[in-house]
Subunit: 257 residues, 2 copies
DNA sequence: AGGAGTTTGTGAACGGGAGAACAAACCGAG
DNA sequence: CTCGGTTTGTTCTCCCGTTCACAAACTCCT
């Protein structure tokens, strides 16, 4: 069932985004910005953006790195270093202009204009995602809801009809969709992923507990709520074990058969 | 509104789990295992667990690090190093016993018995979480659904009634709840978090787009779907910008005012 | 104008994780 | 019992990310 029929490049679907090479040793004559922002910084920019939006709504015109770092929940030195990758947008002795910095980060992330998004699998989670109003205010517009189950199709969710999954090619092309969300059961995830990629989607957010293989050039991010809970459980167990202070009778031996 | 009344220790709510010290230089006489598993490894253990469950269901008795790494989507060297933190559970020249390793990882994570969990905020997302059947098979049991809105209360979701948030203390105590899930709007998240912690919860999974401050000893993990999409958007933008091959007219200057 | 105070941007040290590579250990055949 | 093939566990090296610390740059007050 899971035997790989089509030879896909088993990309990690993790941090390593297959950089498009071009790190040639050749001459730096053309003055390409070539600003490779570290992945860890990219992951924090949206947090800064949210914090700046909050400050802006509260009427704050400027803020120091200390303030912004506090609102974002990070170290101020880390914040400054992160922002320095975008350029020198602050003023020494003063701080950052909230609106100006907010726009610069939004532009850097690419959310100054909306990204069309399709959601596949309109079950429990798909419904919640479709109804969520927060996406539209953060640079995303859900343009299609797809499901393979005929009983789901036709239903209206958040002003959008659930369409048959077969229409994926037409819809992706019509709306120029680059980002797809997978909220189907795990067994269907790889198949859905392949179809999305074939239709032209090059970025995927996967909620199904499954490892996706995608060709190079396609980014995958996964959100696994069970894993998050299990990480919490691990630390929780260590807390309570620390209370017992010894536990683990011998912890070795391990007889096995 | 967001002014910190009670002086909380603004903990990062990120990787740094305030280790309970005790890394004394003193005599190692009591033979404490003291196995500090790296955070990155802890985050991958649930993935291995899921992969092993899959292999087990498919009837596989043993597997090599290569196979398991493939199923988990990681490098085999990384997998072996991760597993070595738990102990030597493999057999050289043979591989790993699937059932045995599965149990060992489950025990290490702490999901050999169920963890009781409360969900706060039974809106779009809270409903989806409450109805999700995957948690129970992965070591978690949802014991209470809480909401502040009287119109939500009394509703039955997945065989569990939605209770008033005021009952949080009684429910947490009665079920010995250590893990709480926050699915309320962002403005309510800190307040809900404080109440949960006061009730005795020491691990929190936060879906609201807000930075939570918690006292030391409490772990917070956040899941922010907008951030995931924005990270994808950033890379997507760079892909299309790479196609244009130059873009960014001058990219410097930045006149401001 | 000059100086004190403030805050940014960045160089440098440091720590942790990723990956390659290899010795040790195990199995099975002969 | 020995030997070749296989796979683990671990060591070593490199790289990325975090954090400290400070010079440069700006404002404001005198
Ligand atoms: N609901 C949650 O809170 C939650 C939590 C963690 C993980 N997940 C994961 O998210 C995914 C969705 O969860 P859910 O609770 O919404 O499940 P669900 O069963 O309620 O919904 C799945 C939907 O996908 C559709 N579907 C199935 N196969 C399809 C295909 N090949 N193409 C298109 N659509 C298809 C189904 O018709 C259904 O509507 C699952 O993988 C689940 O493990 C969900
Ligand atoms: N729905 C999604 O797909 C999605 C996606 C990303 C992020 N989020 C975030 O998850 C959170 C929940 O989203 P949602 O769509 O379910 O929102 P929602 O408005 O549908 O549900 C929120 C629920 O929380 C309850 N609530 C409000 N204040 C409360 C309080 N003080 N105590 C207890 N309960 C309280 C409300 O009564 C409501 O039932 C939000 O913070 C949202 O930003 C949701």
């Amino acid at each position: 069932m899971t035997s790989p029929r089509s030879p896909r490049t088993g990309s990690p679907a993790d941090g390593s985004h297959g950089r498009h090479g071009a790190d040639g040793v050749g001459g730096p004559s053309v003055r390409v910005p070539e600003r490779g922002i570290p992945e860890a910084t990219v992951a924090r920019l949206p947090v800064y953006l949210r914090a700046l939006t909050g400050l802006s709504e509260r009427g704050t015109a400027t803020c120091s790195s200390e303030e912004l770092a506090g609102a974002a929940g990070v170290n101020s030195a880390k914040l400054r270093k992160d922002l320095s990758y975008l350029g020198s947008y602050g003023t020494r002795g003063v701080g950052y202009d909230v609106e100006y910095l907010r726009y610069q980060i939004a532009r850097e992330i690419g959310v100054t204009q909306d990204w069309p998004v399709v959601i596949v699998g309109i079950g429990n989670l798909g419904h919640a995602l479709a109804k969520y109003s927060g996406f539209s205010s953060r640079g995303f517009r859900i343009v299609a809801l797809l499901d393979a189950d005929p009983r789901r199709q036709g239903e209206e969710v958040a002003g959008l009809g659930v369409r048959p999954f077969e229409e994926v090619d037409a819809l992706v092309e019509r709306h120029r969709v680059a980002i797809g969300v997978i909220a189907t059961p795990a067994v269907a995830a790889q198949e859905v992923c392949d179809r999305l990629v074939a239709a032209g989607v090059t970025s995927i957010l996967n909620f199904a507990p499954a490892v996706l293989s995608v060709p190079e050039g396609v980014d995958v991010r996964k959100v696994d709520l069970s894993i998050e809970l299990q990480i919490l459980a691990y630390h929780e167990q260590r807390k309570t074990l620390a209370d017992v202070l010894d536990g683990t009778p011998v912890a070795s031996g391990a007889v096995r058969s």
